[in-house]
Structures are given as structure tokens and as C-alpha cells.
Symmetry: C2
DNA sequence: CTTGGTAGG
DNA sequence: CCTATCAAG
């Protein structure tokens, strides 16, 4: 049995200050994938404490200190760590990290933590960067699946797939995060066999969501988006028994603007 | 009877967040002089609320947004507001404001709120700026006293006068804030008739102090400095009946790193 | 150790 | 509305 949790922590320091440690102890995942770590490697390791093997893509490009950052913490050893999804333009961006982990059955799992660009900003234009990153993901996933291993991509894709995946879908049809091109990218991913565990176990919807703006009453009104995913290769997906979003009971109990997505695989 | 309070609020927003309003309501001064307001005029007025006449020197020089700022809030009308101590080099620095207030006896009071430069930084060198500001103060005070009005200069002078005015005087003999030249400036001010109300009513010392670093256990150990003053012209000083420093009971009850200095004048 | 401004989300 | 960095104190 393999319990996997993914969450955009929105700053590991702030998350711990607000109570992430209690959630982690109670949930006790075998693998924890994080996005927006927003800290140095030293700070990340200090917060998580011992007994973890950690793969961390800290952004290294100029002016990116305290931004982005993705990591994978594993109770089992990490055989190989790979940073960046491939193309040179994304070198050191702190948005992609892979960890090869050997499972009980001897098979290899490539676990991925990714944090896709927000496309919503006009200056500089970021939507093109987002599409380029999605392309890079497609290529990298295809390469990883070639040798038959298990692949699990987790993270904040900054895309809601269908109308049931965000509360205000009508108002957001022309907004980055719910553009036809972005949704089509997820369509083609799922059509080629990758499985969206959140939707498989999340019912018909609308909801559940995984992100709510801190602003106004977005959380209390459940005006959220499902933009955080566990996306598994077919064989791995077939072994899944559960996938739930850990929405905090109250606004005050949130320790991130995102909620964890937690899945169990019988593998 | 005229109750006057002066305090370096270290950011009016932070001070209100931490409980300044309760202190202000309980103390209920006729005139409240503030330093390090660190806010726009609109924000200052929003926080103080109605029923005040306000003179505010907001810093206007490039890159000074959110820094310095001195203000005078008065329950009685302010006849004339003057900003800056005079020399062009201090134009718009947000460290000096005067308010002319007509007293019950028909006399005019020039109340001053000032925030003298910290000299402790090496790059850029600030000690020279501090001495130049002290010179400007001397000249301006002399001019104000010429026509026989009452003058009350309140504020954070960033100078402890004598050994009894800071806990660690031995360790600070070569530090800005307790340099011989700075102490001599206060000596000559008091020798020319200006009166340090805090010392007149504060006993022999050591202490009381008006500022403690936020760092370490400075507050709990009372490792402070008396750098906040009410300095009155001779006639006004003669009418004073009391001057006390409102040190918070506990660290948690502080709403600034400085404590208010509150005096009463029978005039 | 705390302040506010700032860029980013 | 929240994150972190930054200069300043």
C-alpha cells in the first residue's frame, strides 16, 4: 500500500507556522510532493525533520529567491533525482522535480512534483511560457512512460479541466487557468491513457476543489478551483483505491491557499 | 490643565493592530505627538478617527515611502503648521513638524514633534546628517523662543543624555546615541534654559527608559535607553506638574518598541 | 526582531 | 489577501 500526498504549501515556513505539521503527522504519507516551497534546501529540510529522503528543485535563476520551488519527500530511498522537464529554457526554474523510487514489488516509480506557470499576468506575458511548459511536460511524460515503469505526476497545474472543476466557470471562460487550449491539453493527456485520480474518485462534481483565493469569502463560499492533480500512468492508476482532497474544516484551520490531494495505491 | 503625550509609534498601523487605541482612550491627552508614523496622511487620519486636528510631516523625498513621518494630533485647533526645521537639506524629510495652538490663557504654544536621524549606520554615513539636524534644531528653537511664546519640543532624539539614561552605558560610550558630542548638544540645550521634563520628574535614575530593542530580552531585562523627550521652554516647564513614561506591563502588551512620555502642564 | 514597500501569485 | 525578500531601525 502506497499513500501519496501532494500539496502546494505556498511557503513551507508559513505552512508550518499555521499547522502543516499536525496534518502531516495525521496523514502520514509514504511520499509527500510539494509545490511553492519558497525556501532554501536547508530551510526545507529543517522544517520536514529527519526520516525523509528529499528531492528538491530550488529555483536558481536570477531574482527567483523565495519563489516557486518543488520537492518530493519520500520515506523510501530516492534512486535518482532529476530536475527540470527538459528544455534549456526551463533550466533552474524550480517547477519540476522527479524522483525514482523502488516499490515493494520491485518496480520503479517515477514520482514527479510540478508547479506549472500561472498564465494570468500581462506584463511580462506569461501565457506563452505556460504553453511551452505544458509541451515540455508532454514530451517528458512520453519519454518516462516508454520503458513501462510507473509514473505519477503530482502538482499544481494551474488548469481546471472541466466546468465541474471550478465554481465560477462561466466567469472564467476567458481567464488563464480555464482557457480552451489549456483544457484541451488535459483532454489529450487523459485520452492518451493518463488518469486523473481526483476526478476518478471525486464523483461527478461540481467540485471538489483544491484551491481557493485567500481574498474575500472565496473559501467560505467554496468558490474554488480544482487545479491540483495526481495523474497516474494506466497500470498505476488501476491500482488506486482512493483519492481525496483534504479541505480544511474552517478558514482559520487552513495552512495554505491550496488543499492536499491524497491518494492510495495498492501496489 | 494640558496633558501632552509623545510616542514613537513605529508604524501607526502596527501600533493600532497591537492595541494603541486602548492606551490612547485611557490616557486621553489633549495633544498627541507621534514619530515614525510610517503611513500616508490618509492612513494616519483613518487610524486616529475624528475629533482631532492633525499636523503631519509625511516624508516626500524619493524612496522614503513608509519611513519616518512625524505628526501632531490636537483636540484644539491648529493655527499654523510648519514642516521641516529650516535648512533646505531637510526639506520633506518627515522628521519635524510644528503646530501653533492657542492655549486657554490666550498664549500661543508651539508644539513640535521631531524624529532625529539614527546615526548608527555606516553606509551611507549618517552621523554627519544627525549633527546637521541637531544644528538645525538649535537654530529653529532659538528663533521660536524669541517672541516669548511657549515652546514644547517632543520626540525621539536618538540620544541618551547621561549615564543614568541607558542601562548599558559602558558598552555604548562609542556608539551613536551616546557619543560625547551628542550628549554635549543636550547639555548646551539644557544650559540655555530648556527643561528635560522626563528627568525632572523621573528621579535620579538609572532609568526610567523609553526605548528597548525588540531583539532578545532587552525589554524583560529593562535594558533600555531614554531617548524620547518632552523639552519645554522655561515658563512652560515651570507649569509642569508631572511627566511619566508609560512602560508596558509585559512584552506582549507593547505596541511599539518605544513607550509614550506623558506630561501635564497647569497652563 | 520588527517595520513597511514591493513583486509575485 | 497572502507569500517572501529587502532596506531600515
Amino acid at each position: 500500500m502506497l499513500k501519496v500526498a501532494t500539496v502546494n504549501v505556498n511557503g513551507i515556513r508559513a505552512a508550518y507556522r499555521r499547522g502543516m505539521a499536525a496534518w502531516l503527522e495525521q496523514t502520514d504519507p509514504e511520499i509527500l510532493l510539494m509545490q511553492e516551497v519558497r525556501a532554501t534546501d536547508e530551510v526545507l529540510r529543517d522544517h520536514l525533520g529527519g526520516d525523509w529522503h528529499i528531492a528538491h528543485a530550488e529555483p536558481v535563476i536570477e531574482g527567483s529567491k523565495g519563489r516557486a520551488g518543488v520537492a518530493i519527500a519520500s520515506r523510501r530511498p530516492i534512486k535518482l533525482e532529476t530536475v527540470d522537464p527538459g528544455p534549456e529554457r526551463f533550466a533552474g526554474c524550480g517547477r519540476w522535480v522527479e524522483a525514482e523510487i523502488v516499490l515493494d514489488d520491485g518496480n520503479t516509480l517515477s514520482a514527479i512534483s510540478t508547479y506549472v506557470f500561472t498564465g494570468e499576468f500581462e506584463t511580462p506575458p506569461r501565457q506563452a511560457e505556460k504553453y511551452a511548459f505544458l509541451d515540455a511536460i508532454t514530451n517528458r511524460l512520453t519519454a518516462l512512460r516508454a520503458d513501462g515503469r510507473h509514473v505519477l505526476m503530482c502538482g499544481d497545474l494551474n488548469i481546471a479541466h472541466r466546468e465541474v472543476d471550478l465554481k465560477a466557470w462561466k466567469a472564467n471562460r476567458k481567464k488563464s487557468g480555464f482557457l480552451p487550449e489549456e483544457r484541451a491539453w488535459l483532454d489529450s493527456l487523459f485520452e492518451s491513457g493518463w488518469v486523473d485520480l481526483g476526478r476518478r474518485f471525486g464523483g461527478e462534481g461540481p467540485g471538489p476543489y483544491s484551491w481557493w483565493s485567500w481574498r474575500g469569502k472565496a473559501f467560505d463560499n467554496d468558490a474554488g478551483w480544482r487545479i491540483d492533480y495526481q495523474i497516474a500512468s494506466p497500470q498505476l492508476a488501476a491500482s488506486a483505491t482512493d483519492c481525496v482532497i483534504h479541505r480544511a474544516p474552517t478558514y482559520a484551520e487552513r495552512w495554505s491557499d491550496h488543499a492536499p490531494v491524497v491518494a492510495t495505491y495498492e501496489i
